[in-house]
């Protein structure tokens, strides 16, 4: 009897949960998730002459992601241009992650060590740029590093250089821009981890003869590792799929995957290849997220 009502209540709870979530699910399936399945389908079709696709099955797009056939003799080879773009995307994303970590850890630490009533204000200062339009922030960086920008003007004014250094439209520019744009994504999870960190463990470390560097390396970093992993994923994932920042700071030539995908839907006129590339990007991101979930689960055990 009581068992029956229990399971009855369970069922009612599940039904209400689903019913209330239904509008959100429908909206997300129509406006976000569902179309992803169409992309999978398109990646197995043939490109149309100007745009769109011809409804014929083909593995050509997936083949083209990594390989190409020589236009003269038809021999098989690596798609060097594609590999260069992939490598640039991964390299710049990893570097962005490293730079944001190096700058973000002291910043997060600094905020966490503020008196409790002032922490919210510092966090807010980190958050404002985070919510500010990505385009505006990229534009702001553009103004700083352009040849006539304040960075070059300042360096020339100081007499350190006599001609402007070309930073804009290089990989370095993309790197500076992405580090600038994604830094808050590193600081916030690091702050959350440091905030949970028991400072008395530092006292214990010093008490047991550890130097400051060793307290940092042997005690703080291992314990806040879940925050480090979270911050790294949060920076790495959007860096890898970045579109606006490399588009504006890298110019037309220094493409990352995001720009390369766009190209296939524009001048490239190869929707299936663009679709296949999108799926590759999505797969890499999903793998990174899975790694995060696994590490985070392990972090819980340690805590």
């Amino acid at each position: 009897m009581s068992l029956a009502t229990e399971s009855g209540r369970d069922r009612a709870r599940a039904r209400n949960g689903w019913l209330l979530s239904l509008p959100a699910l429908v909206l997300l399936i129509v406006g976000a998730s569902g179309p992803l399945l169409i992309v999978v389908t398109y990646s197995f079709l043939k490109p149309g002459e100007y745009s769109g696709v011809i409804w014929e099955f083909s593995g050509q797009a997936w083949f083209q992601v990594l390989f190409q056939r020589d236009i003269f003799d038809g021999t098989l080879g690596w798609a060097d241009a594609h590999l260069t773009i992939f490598w640039r995307s991964v390299r710049l994303s990893l570097l962005t992650t490293a730079i944001t970590f190096a700058a973000g850890l002291p910043t997060a630490w600094f905020i966490a060590m503020q008196p409790p009533d002032r922490r919210a204000m510092w966090l807010f200062l980190i958050t404002i740029p985070f919510w500010t339009n990505l385009l505006i922030r990229t534009f702001a960086i553009m103004e700083v590093i352009r040849n006539e920008g304040i960075l070059n003007s300042a360096l020339m004014g100081l007499g350190l250089i006599d001609r402007p250094v070309q930073i804009l439209y290089t990989d370095t520019a993309i790197l500076i821009g992405m580090a600038y744009v994604y830094l808050p994504l590193m600081v916030l999870p690091l702050y959350a981890a440091i905030d949970r960190f028991d400072l008395r463990l530092m006292e214990a470390g010093y008490d047991l003869y550890a130097s400051r560097m060793r307290v940092l390396r042997r005690i703080i970093l291992p314990i806040i590792r879940p925050g480090i992993v979270a911050g790294s994923i949060l920076v790495f994932v959007p860096s890898l799929g970045a579109y606006v920042t490399p588009r504006l700071l890298g110019g037309g030539k220094n493409m990352m995957i995001g720009n390369f995908i766009e190209l296939q839907f524009g001048q490239g006129r190869n929707w299936p290849l663009g679709s296949a590339l999108s799926m590759v990007l999505l797969a890499v991101v999903m793998i990174a997220l899975l790694v995060y979930v696994r590490v985070a689960a392990r972090g819980d055990v340690v805590r």
């Binding site: 630490w109 600094f110 740029p129 500010t132 534009f139 999108s278």
Partner: protein
């Protein structure tokens, strides 16, 4: 004599009374201080705000190029205001953001009520994953997917209106609206609703008179975030929009690809001001909870 003459040493020290009275406070050992961290943090804050500050300052520059300072002026704001394209884009941005915020907040509120405070139920994880999906999938991938999907619908129905943008924006705003509402709900005291039920309120009355007023700050916060996120979107809008449907960000993107005039600084500054205003409201709303 393995041990040195510690006795005399101690006696010497004891003889001279400790004179270390005033010590410089900077020398004192602090457990939580890590060398260089404070310096890096301050540098980070400066570098974070310097480019934005430059952008704002140059929006008031009278000179037509951004490299020289020609005195204070509001001419670029006037230019932007007089530009019909900018005005249209701004209105379109606000319209889309309003719709997207309203729709996403409504469905997110319902979903939050459905997924919190009722124990676990089968499929809950699926719902979480679906709701947070826009946070996980790279925006460029979603943009491409929507481009393909909507292109097909446009061909099939012939409809070219703003509906596509509103639908897309509403969808990717859902997690941003959902998270603060859920946080608010989870921090709410369940016994208040029990008390209402004990005082003869029907479930609907309890919801209207107790639950909804209590979760209102969360809903307002969620709506504000959704509004800001929609207002700032570039990539999905760029891919989904039909001809002549520029929002402020896509208009700016177009401008930035060509010659840059301080007009863009003015638009950026205005948009920045609006964002900061909304975020401050959000900050105050969520802080009151404590």
């Amino acid at each position: 004599m393995a041990v040195p003459d510690a006795g005399t040493a101690a006696a010497d020290r004891a003889g001279a009374p400790a004179r270390r009275v005033a010590r410089r406070p900077g020398r004192a050992f602090s457990v939580t201080r890590l060398p260089g961290f404070g310096l890096v943090a301050v540098t980070v804050f400066v570098l974070l705000y310097a480019p934005i500050a430059t952008l704002i300052v140059y929006s008031f520059n009278d000179a037509p190029t951004i490299s020289v300072w020609g005195g204070f002026s509001l001419r670029w704001y006037a230019d932007a205001w007089a530009n019909q394209q900018v005005k249209d884009a701004a209105l379109r941005s606000l319209l889309i953001a309003s719709f997207a915020a309203a729709i996403s907040t409504t469905v997110a509120t319902m979903a939050a009520l459905g997924t919190t405070r009722r124990g676990r139920f089968p499929g809950q994880t699926f719902i979480y994953v679906m709701i947070n999906q826009p946070l996980m999938v790279p925006e460029i991938v979603t943009a491409v997917a929507l481009l393909i999907f909507f292109a097909a619908i446009k061909v099939a129905t012939g409809y070219q209106g703003l509906g596509y943008l509103i639908l897309a924006h509403s969808a990717f705003c859902v997690p941003f609206a959902y998270l603060p509402i859920r946080a608010r709900l989870e921090s709410m005291d369940l016994s208040l609703e029990t008390a209402a039920a004990d005082l003869y309120a029907t479930p609907w009355q309890t919801f209207r008179r107790v639950t909804l007023p209590l979760m209102a700050p969360g809903i307002a916060a969620g709506a504000m975030l959704a509004f800001v996120i929609s207002l700032d979107d570039v990539i999905i809008t760029e891919f989904v929009k039909s001809a002549g449907q520029d929002t402020l960000p896509t208009y700016m993107l177009g401008k930035l690809r060509r010659a840059i005039t301080p007009e863009v600084n003015a638009i950026s500054t205005a948009l920045l001001g609006l964002t900061v205003l909304l975020l401050t409201a959000f900050f105050l709303l969520t802080r009151k909870r404590g």
